[in-house]
C-alpha cells in the first residue's frame, strides 16, 4: 500500500556505522535515513545485524564507529546513563515493542501499560488506569485482559499488550521488532491493520524489523536490505523487486516471495476499486 506522501525531514540518520563483536564484523559502513511519518522496514537474513542495528538505534548497544541521530539527537553524544535527563527525554519520545513482548511478569497487563505514565507523568492513578485501558482497547484487547498477568496470555495477545505499552506515552517514533513473528496469519493480518491505524491516528514514524513478506508488501513505505554488513538496497518493495543485487533477489525469488507479491497485487486492485467509489 503506497504511503500518503511522507514529508522528507529525517527522523533517524545513520552514517558510516560500524559494529563488530570481537573478530565478527556485523556492520561495516551503514548509511540509512528514516523520514518522518513513514513506515520503514529493515530486512536481512539471520545474522545480518538487523537486530543489532535496532538495538543501536534505541540506545541498548553502542556502535564502534559512525554516528546515529534519532529525532535530532546525536546518540554518541549522550552519556548513556539510564535515568539521565537528556537520554530519558529522548527515550520518552519513542516506544519499543520487543519480539517477545518484554512485559514485566510481576505486573498485570494493565499495570504494564500504565507503568510509563506512572513513572513519567504526574497523573492520578484512576486516570492512568483509564488511559491504560483505552490503549489496550486500541490494540484490540478485551478489557478483562488488563487484569491478567503476561504469563497467562497467548503470543499474539502479548504482542498487542507490548504494543499498547510502547504507545503509552504517545511516542513520535515506534520501533517494532518482528511484529508478526510467531503469529497465526489472521493475527498477523490484524497487526497489519493495527499498525496502519495507529500511524493514521498518531502520525507515527515506524521502524520495524521483520521477515514477514506480506507485512512488507502491505505496510512498508521503504525497505532496507542488510547483508554482509552493508545496506544492499533501499526503496519501496516494488523498487527492490526490480533490482538485480543477488542479496536482494533472494527475498523475491522463491515461492514465498512470489506468493506475497501476487497477493499484494490482488489486494491493491481491490483497494483501488473500493476507494474510487
Amino acid at each position: 500500500m503506497p504511503s500518503p506522501t511522507p514529508s522528507t525531514d529525517a527522523v533517524i540518520e545513520i552514517s558510516k556505522l560500524s559494529t563488530s563483536f570481537g573478530d565478527h564484523v556485523v556492520h561495516s559502513g551503514i548509511d540509512l535515513e528514516v523520514r518522518r511519518g513513514e513506515i520503514f522496514a529493515v530486512i536481512g537474513g539471520s545474522g545480518s545485524g538487523k537486530s543489532t542495528l535496532l538495538r543501536e538505534m534505541i540506545l541498548l548497544h553502542r556502535p564502534d564507529t559512525g554516528s546515529i541521530r534519532v529525532l535530532g539527537v546525536d546518540l554518541q553524544a549522550l552519556d548513556g546513563g539510564d535515568a539521565n535527563g537528556e537520554t530519558l527525554a529522548l527515550r520518552r519520545r519513542w516506544g519499543v515493542m520487543f519480539q517477545h513482548g518484554g512485559l514485566f511478569g510481576s505486573l498485570t497487563v494493565q499495570e504494564n501499560v500504565g507503568l510509563p505514565l506512572r513513572e513519567h507523568t504526574g497523573l492520578d492513578d484512576a486516570l492512568i488506569d483509564e488511559i491504560a485501558a483505552a490503549k489496550l482497547a486500541m490494540t484490540g484487547l478485551e478489557p478483562q485482559v488488563g487484569a491478567q498477568y503476561p504469563a497467562e496470555l497467548s503470543g499474539g495477545m502479548r504482542k498487542r499488550a507490548s504494543l499498547a505499552r510502547a504507545l503509552a506515552l504517545d511516542p513520535e517514533l515506534l520501533f517494532l521488532d518482528e511484529p508478526t513473528a510467531g503469529l497465526d496469519p489472521e493475527s498477523a493480518g490484524e497487526v497489519d491493520q493495527l499498525v496502519h491505524k495507529l500511524r493514521e491516528l498518531f502520525g507515527l514514524t515506524i521502524v520495524m524489523i521483520t521477515h514477514d513478506l506480506d507485512l512488507l508488501w502491505q505496510l512498508a513505505d521503504r525497505v532496507a536490505v542488510l547483508a554482509e554488513g552493508k545496506v544492499q538496497g533501499v526503496g519501496s518493495m516494488s523498487e527492490l523487486a526490480q533490482m538485480d543485487n543477488p542479496a536482494i533477489r533472494k527475498f523475491f525469488d522463491g515461492p514465498r516471495g512470489r506468493a506475497a507479491h501476487e497477493q499484494d497485487k490482488q489486494q491493491a486492485d481491490v483497494h483501488t476499486s473500493g476507494q474510487t467509489g
Partner: protein, 378 residues
C-alpha cells in the same frame, strides 16, 4: 507533533458561554489542570462554545481528559460546540470518544473482593496440604527413577554427577571450611570461661569434639549447601520450566528426572558427607587453636584427650546424618524448581521457598535424629 517548548495545558472562561483551551494537552502537560477541570461548570441548558484553536499538542491522555470534560458538560444539559481544533487533533478526539463509548460497557473485571480471614486460612491450609502431597509424589517419582537406574546402571548419567560433585562439593570447600573453623573458634571461646572456673580446661576437647562432630559440622555444612546448591537447583530447573525446556525434554523422550534430578541427588549424597568430614577437621582445628590460646591446652594434650573423649560412634553419627540432609536439599530444591509457573518472579519465589524449606526440613530432621539417638542411647 510534540513541540518540546509548548506551554502546559490551560483552560479559561472568556465569557460565560465560551471556554478557551490552550497549551499542550499531553500526558505531561495536563497534570496541573486536572483538579481545575472538575471545577469547570456552566449554567445548565445553555449553548457553550469551546475554542480549541490554541491547543498546541494533544495526545491520548489529553484527549481522554478533554473528552471526559466535554461529556460531563453535555451530561449537565449543555449544548456544546467545539471549534477551531486542528484536523489531526479532531481525529484523535473522535477516536477517543469511540473508545470511551466502547468502554462504557461493563468493566467489572477487576472487582474481586479480597478474601476474608477465614477464607485466607482455608486457602493457605489447602495450598500447604496440596504442596505436601505433591512433594510426597515427587519423592515417589524420584525413588522410582532411582530404582530404574539401579536396575539398569547404563541409564546412570555419570558426567552430570561428576559435574555436580564438583560444583556442589569441591567448589564449596573454602566457604564450608572457613565457617566451620570459625564455629570451632566460637564454641571453644564461649566454653573456655565456664571450664576455667571449674579448672576443667582439658575438657575443652570433649566440648569441641562432641559438639562439632555430632551436631555443628553436619548442620552448618547442610545449611551452607542448601543456600548454595539448593537455590541453584531450584533456579536452574525453574528457568528451564519457564522457557519450556522441560517440556521439550519430555517430548524428545528424555525423562527430566533422569537428567536433572537424579544426578543432583546422587552427587549431593556423595559430596555432602565428604564436606562434613572436611568441616569436622576444620572445626576441631579451630577449637584446638582457641584451646591453646585461651586455656593453655597444647595440641598434644588436646589430641590425647580428644581420642579418649570422642568415640567413633559420635563421628559416624555426624557423618551419617549428612546423606539424609543431602537428599532433603536436593529433592526440595528440584521439587520447587519443577513447580515454577509463569515468569521471572515465579523463579525467584520458588528459589526462596527451596532454600527456606530445605533448611527448615534439615533442622527438623536433625531434631528427630537427636530424639532417636537418645532413645537408642547412642
Amino acid at each position: 507533533m510534540h513541540p518540546m517548548s509548548a506551554a502546559p495545558a490551560a483552560i479559561a472562561h472568556s465569557s460565560s458561554q465560551e471556554l478557551v483551551l490552550s497549551g499542550a494537552w499531553t500526558a505531561r502537560g495536563i497534570g496541573a489542570i486536572a483538579p481545575q477541570l472538575d471545577a469547570i461548570s456552566a449554567p445548565a441548558g445553555q449553548e457553550l462554545r469551546v475554542d480549541g484553536a490554541r491547543i498546541e499538542a494533544l495526545d491520548t491522555a489529553g484527549a481522554w481528559v478533554l473528552q471526559k470534560l466535554l461529556q460531563r458538560l453535555r451530561g449537565d444539559g449543555n449544548a456544546l460546540r467545539l471549534h477551531g481544533l486542528r484536523p489531526e487533533f479532531a481525529r484523535l478526539l473522535e477516536a477517543i470518544e469511540q473508545q470511551m463509548a466502547d468502554q462504557e460497557r461493563p468493566l467489572a473485571a477487576s472487582a474481586i473482593a479480597p478474601p476474608s480471614a477465614l477464607e485466607a486460612v482455608g486457602r493457605s491450609t489447602q495450598a500447604a496440604l496440596e504442596q505436601g502431597f505433591a512433594l510426597l509424589s515427587f519423592v515417589g517419582e524420584c525413588a522410582l527413577a532411582l530404582g530404574g537406574c539401579i536396575a539398569h546402571p547404563a541409564r546412570v548419567r555419570w558426567r552430570p554427577i561428576l559435574y555436580n560433585i564438583r560444583s556442589a562439593g569441591f567448589d564449596a570447600l573454602p566457604i564450608v571450611g572457613l565457617l566451620s573453623f570459625l564455629l570451632g573458634v566460637v564454641v571453644a571461646y564461649q566454653g573456655a570461661d565456664q571450664l576455667r572456673q571449674y579448672g576443667a580446661n582439658i575438657f575443652v576437647a570433649d566440648l569441641i569434639g562432641l559438639s562439632m562432630l555430632r551436631e555443628f559440622a553436619p548442620l552448618i555444612t547442610a545449611i551452607i549447601v542448601a543456600g548454595r546448591s539448593g537455590s541453584a537447583y531450584a533456579a536452574q530447573i525453574g528457568t528451564m520450566a519457564v522457557t519450556e525446556e522441560i517440556d521439550a525434554m519430555r517430548t524428545l523422550g528424555i525423562a527430566p528426572l533422569d537428567v536433572l534430578v537424579l544426578p543432583k541427588i546422587l552427587a549431593l549424597l556423595i559430596a555432602l558427607p565428604l564436606l562434613t568430614v572436611f568441616a569436622d577437621v576444620l572445626g576441631v582445628f579451630g577449637g584446638m587453636l582457641m584451646a591453646r590460646a585461651q586455656l593453655g591446652v597444647g595440641f598434644g594434650d588436646f589430641l590425647d584427650r580428644f581420642v579418649k573423649a570422642v568415640s567413633v560412634t559420635a563421628y559416624l553419627i555426624g557423618v551419617g546424618k549428612a546423606p539424609v540432609f543431602a537428599a532433603i536439599i536436593a529433592v526440595v530444591g528440584c521439587f520447587q524448581g519443577f513447580r515454577t509457573r509463569g515468569g521471572a518472579d515465579s523463579v525467584g519465589r520458588q528459589t526462596t521457598r527451596a532454600v527456606v524449606q530445605s533448611i527448615f526440613l534439615v533442622i527438623v530432621a536433625d531434631a528427630l535424629f537427636s530424639v532417636a539417638f537418645s532413645a537408642l542411647d547412642l
